[in-house]
Symmetry: C2
Subunit: 511 residues, 2 copies
């Protein structure tokens, strides 16, 4: 048998035009291509002239990067994000995505939105910051004056003042980087080695929020954290956020603890103050959330709390969700009695359930997709397993329930390794309603939405994803938000204005 | 924030019953479950009483293994096959799958069907076996007497007699294992390190067939190889095979070279001789194949050769295919003129195209799926990218064109790492027609079909795949074969008889 010579990967590039052009002189083939083009996310959008120019330019950048990837065998979306990040940030496509007005971030968690570097360099340098180590080595923090209450020895070592510890150190930078920053993120050089399986990465993920809690729930930090979070997203051209929040009690230096209502009001105040200083910023809403490892009676109370909060803050509290690892937590079906409470009382409490964030098909966690649908979830968080559920898929589509796709989160939490195999690729090709979000970008070393948009645009969407795809994804983020119809109109206008500027700049190119 | 305790993974097991039972007292939920159950591969089969017992027993074994996997974090289908193989072979489910009459192997290549160990221990110990090394270090072989023609220095080193080399060795076993066996398989302890990307694994894959060629194309070996291949599949309870073969010239010791027709006749003779000694064995058919790196005029000739062979051997030659790596080879669209020849002459040449064996969506290789459909391919080899092509997917379904899913091949060739993310999971859940095959099992360290069935049943099918799934997959392999209607009837009866025995034994359990 003769040796098959490896043909130049240029074929990849040729491919683009072969599939893109409608000049194949084969009507049946053209019709297939046209049908598939129309089906996919954004496929029905008609681009204006300037948008077409911008699209051409974007596709040229994309094709050049894909060609390079095919030639070098290094394609960032097929690599682990921790290892791909530097490559992503060098990408011209990524820079376009950063500039693009992306609309809203609909799936982000309260304490995963600010680069952890800021916590280290700003928050942990504030006065009165104490820490201790749990038996498992997790760092816990507490601001207090004169000193925090003695911890239970079973829970933590003695509190020590961080300022004092730093004074005794020869290499503070080293301490900040390796002890502190490492406590706040999952980032590591060899994620495949550090996290051999999902249990290991989730175990670490949970300790991160344990460590963060004492820092970010301190009242002055809490305010600054929210402000800073909005800033990072605003800089990334995201103008509206819906935050999943557990509203864990915020405390003052003297140990006083605030109510949930105080937290909601603080979110509201900070967002208002932020909007005043940042033109075009639309605001935030909260999705009150509780943990899916609690028992039914706890969740019954939380559902009632959610109903109460939503009645008190109808413009701020959008609804309710359950958070935490689905594979090991309780299922929506387990909580059905709690989750039926609003309906029984004739109250509308919108749900935004995490569902199908699993690769175990046929398990209780996998079944969450059924119950999210049956409980009329407004959106589905992740829906990673949706395409394995054709009946739920069809019915959710009829009900226009979008999925919130968080590519990097899914990869870091070991649901998928190569983004080209992300199940959202099928959903994107069929035009299923979706938005792109970033879950806990700070824990993954990402920022805003752009890194996740890169993975979605280059990896999940394949060569075919174009400006239409991006425009639809951005518009979806407002369309499927919890904004009122009036708010949506205003938001859409603000977004459109920015979109036109973005398109004009992109069409003009090169940067 | 309190630490979410990791709940016992027993939830995984509970899940099975939660999803499996129809006693949820929620008609809408039951209806969704029932719809999804009916949709998936085998979902419409009604099991007889004994089959139900067998199914219960199989599911108990499966659940126990999945539970163990969830507890230990070690789930073979989510590991690389080279590392999972030992675990798979210890599995009780695997032993059931080995015993199961699996019907036919519809996607296997001529020289990937016999355990390479046999080549080392049997073939390379035959007299007059010479070898040389190419500049890149690939071993080439040649049987000759008195000696092979001098190789071109640019092509290979001087021929040396293997027998003579062995005589001079202190450790022959070491040589056989590390020099020979390693030349014949992709198997390695650290596949992630050895094959950093697809280019690297394909480069090695291609050298394997180069090395094998001189061995297996020697006439006496050729006959024995076919016989041995059928034996390995027969032992694995596979009674019929369709072999993709390039019909590379077979040679005698004196250098004489045989015609294509000779090869086809030899296949026919060996299969007949095999069937005489092996009750129930149905036979083989050939899918004549050529390489997709050749130019159009070469492929025009091959198509004509295929037409001629099919006219000469209508019961042996089933049709035509193009083989080799799709990403770097020419597309079906590129060959369209050649592939239209039979239709232009009013001749029916069935096609069995490899198509969509790629994760590059939107490229020429990815476009092969369109052209396989438009060229009325009888089946689709791999179809890994099919679910990303909703229009092709829908139309192929209407035309009842099955995909030949080869899980281990896809993993080893780096299209997917965790079988739970194999795109066939979506196809299986929606009930798309499919068969399971093993491509080149010997190159991957697998044998027959059972290893691939294990991956499909445990990984791709999730918890929900059951005896119905397996039965449908086995029946599909005959239904979608190139057997004539009459042959199919006979084959199906032979299979049914074996199926009943298998079911009775399984239902009786424990082994």
């Amino acid at each position: 048998m003769p040796a098959p010579r490896a043909l130049p990967s240029l074929l990849l590039a040729l491919a683009v035009s072969a599939l893109g052009s409608a000049a194949s002189r084969d009507p049946a083939r053209d019709q297939l291509l046209t049908r598939e083009k129309a089906m996919r996310v954004g496929g029905l959008l008609v681009l204006e002239e300037e948008e077409q120019l911008a699209d051409q330019r974007l596709r040229a950048l994309k094709e050049a990067e894909m060609l390079e990837a095919a030639q070098t065998g290094t394609f960032p979306p097929s690599m682990h994000f921790f290892q791909a990040k530097r490559l992503v940030e060098r990408s011209a496509v990524f820079r376009v995505l950063q500039k693009m007005p992306k609309g809203a971030a609909l799936h982000v968690h309260d304490f995963g939105i600010v680069s952890m570097d800021w916590l280290v360099k700003n928050v942990t340098y504030r006065p009165h910051c104490y820490f201790c180590h749990t038996r498992k080595g997790t760092m816990l923090f507490r601001f207090a004056h004169p000193s925090p209450p003695k911890p239970e020895p079973a829970e933590c070592s003695e509190w020590v003042l961080l300022e004092k510890v730093r004074k005794g150190l020869q290499n503070v930078t080293e301490f900040d980087q390796s002890s502190l920053l490492r406590s706040f993120t999952l980032v590591t050089e060899s994620p495949q080695v550090t996290y051999a399986n999902q249990d290991m990465v989730w175990a670490k993920f949970q300790t991160i929020f344990l460590s963060l809690s004492g820092l970010v729930n301190h009242a002055p930090v809490f305010r600054d954290y929210i402000f800073r979070g909005l800033e990072e997203f605003y800089q990334d051209n995201v103008l509206y956020l819906e935050l999943r929040t557990t509203l864990f009690p915020v405390y003052e230096l003297n140990g006083t603890v605030h109510s949930l209502e105080w937290s909601v009001r603080t979110y509201e105040e900070v967002a208002r103050a932020f909007a005043e200083k940042h033109p075009g910023f639309i605001g935030i809403k909260l999705i009150y959330s509780d943990h899916r490892f609690k028992n039914v009676s706890c969740i019954k109370k939380s559902v009632q709390t959610a109903m109460k909060l939503r009645a008190q803050f109808p413009r701020m509290v959008a609804g309710f969700d359950l958070v935490g690892r689905e594979d090991t937590g309780h299922s929506l079906y387990y909580y059905r009695e709690a989750l039926m409470i609003p309906a029984l009382h004739g109250v509308k409490l919108p749900y935004f359930f995490h569902a199908g964030e699993t690769d175990w098909q046929g398990t209780a966690a996998d079944g969450n997709l059924l119950d999210a649908l049956l409980l009329n979830s407004t959106r589905i968080g992740h829906g990673f397993a949706l395409s394995k559920h054709p009946a739920v898929w069809a019915d959710s589509w009829k009900k226009d329930i979008p999925v919130e796709v968080c590519p990097i989160s899914n990869q870091v939490l070991k649901l998928v390794s190569d983004m080209r195999n992300h199940p959202a690729a099928v959903l994107m090709a069929t035009g299923y309603p979706m938005v792109i979000s970033s879950d806990d970008p700070a824990a993954f070393g990402a920022k805003g939405l752009s890194h996740d948009f890169y993975e979605a645009f280059m990896g999940i969407g394949g060569v075919t994803a174009d400006l239409r795809t991006l425009k639809q994804l951005a518009m979806n983020s407002l369309k499927y938000s919890a904004l009122s119809e009036g708010e949506k109109k205003v938001a859409m206008e603000a977004w459109e204005e920015r979109w036109h500027k973005f398109v004009a700049e992109l069409a003009r190119g090169p940067e």
